[in-house]
Symmetry: C2
Subunit: 280 residues, 2 copies
């Protein structure tokens, strides 16, 4: 997340269409604006130029905050333990479930004996980011999913999905992240309604391409109305990992960025909070 | 952390002396061995080679675990929320103070109005790692500190400390990390005794070089016996950040690696747990 050349100008990657009804300006005025303003005040930006050494950086991580919407259970909580006036230094305490905010689903989240957070290897934390943009469809239909056709159309435009890919769905759903009810979007049927991956797309990726992970800008790899969690079972059963609640996917190239997945190595973790940064 | 060429063979960097009495073999048999074995099982390594694209990766992060020694207060706790047999999926809950395990001290940890975790910019999370090895001295004297002389001797050997540096102390103290009493090392004087930075070295770095952060393989940037926290006040007062409880610093080149600091952007955080990875 920085105010350098926009994604369209990324070297070595074709422009990604911004034809999804959520313009860059609307994005900047929406959920992303506060985070952008907070993370990169103007003075720091100037200093950033030589440090970034000509590379672009974007934050794919939401601020880890109290009340961040969760799929079930309690949202994250924090309390102040000590303060500078009273104690000479400041520190908070956090309590949260591992699947809070921007986080990883490790294989062991669903698979008995599957790998847990400390077993995810370092090379797996560096993926070739690919962004599948279904935001236009998702704006009309909250049950929209990434299909095999979406993957084929991506490849027609950007070329073959690279090795060691992290295949990320951009649905535009992050504009709802500050409203937990809208983000979960429960229907009269008692089910959630938000976009995710179709099982067919995940099976196609596992069979035909060499992926490391998939990721979404929603609460779940499966679409919200899934009652079987087929994508979770299949992806994690193949010893790959997932990323949920990704941010700012509209601001990186469709192909060409590396996503660095800074998972904290939570002991016996089922995944857990990670800092995800795109660099290209 | 991977079983590629050892640090000595890193291109573009002079060998770092392993003259500190803790040999690589002893390191591998010590605290680091379990993490090494866990993090990189052999099958993943084979797959890693193309992914790493000829680069070496090392994990500078301890497993975030229950009971990790803390400077004060309560160590991290976890509990199992749901299990695969009972609930279909597995997840834990964590409760911890921000300054637990491998973590950042943001300026706002000590400085009123200082920057908090979400305000640390993305370029600042990529630093040019420099390792100041005082392990030989620290093995004899737990109150050993990084001095200006150490910095000058480093530069005589490796060249000038680069811009945007993360200057990391390697004291060998991580061999004690599984024994909280030994790691804190309280003396009959009621003070802790473990290595840290001298205030003079930090002032020299701030005045004469362009650093982004300093880091230690102990519980505190200041030596354990500090009662003034002069290093914290000075470093954080200069709007730089610190890293504490770093791991595996003996396994990276003295100069030449980039350390990627995957700080979770904790809301109003005084710093907090981060995944720190070296790459060169």
């Amino acid at each position: 997340m920085c105010l350098q050349a926009p994604a369209e100008a990324a070297p070595g990657s074709a422009p990604r269409p911004h034809d999804h009804g959520i313009s860059r300006r609307r994005f900047l005025l929406g959920a992303g604006a506060a985070a952008l303003a907070t993370a990169l005040p103007a003075p720091a930006l100037a200093a950033a130029v030589p440090r970034a050494a000509g590379r672009s950086l974007r934050d794919l991580t939401h601020v880890f905050r109290e009340g961040f919407p969760v799929y079930g259970g309690d949202p994250p909580e924090r309390r102040t333990l000590v303060t500078i006036p009273d104690d000479g230094f400041y520190q908070q305490e956090w309590t949260f479930a591992e699947h809070s905010a921007t986080h990883m689903d490790a294989p062991g989240h669903f698979i008995p004996g599957g790998r847990l957070s400390p077993q995810i290897t370092l090379p797996e934390l560096f993926v070739n980011a690919v962004v599948i943009d279904i935001s236009r469809r998702a704006a009309r239909n909250p049950d929209a999913v990434v299909t095999v056709r979406d993957l084929r159309r991506f490849e027609e435009r950007f070329g073959r999905i690279p090795r060691d890919a992290g295949v990320f769905m951009y649905s535009g759903w992050e504009s709802r992240v500050h409203d937990p009810e809208a983000y979960r979007n429960a229907g009269p049927d008692g089910l959630f309604h938000f976009p995710g991956f179709s099982i067919e797309a995940v099976e196609w990726l596992l069979e035909n391409r060499d992926i490391t992970s998939i990721g979404v800008d929603t609460l779940s790899l499966d679409p919200g109305n899934s009652q079987t969690f087929a994508v979770h079972h299949t992806l994690l059963g193949a010893d790959k990992y997932g990323l949920e609640n990704l941010a700012n996917l509209a601001t990186i190239p469709g192909r060409g960025a590396t996503a660095i997945v800074g998972l904290i190595p939570w002991e016996e973790g089922s995944g857990g909070p990670a800092r995800v940064i795109a660099r290209w």
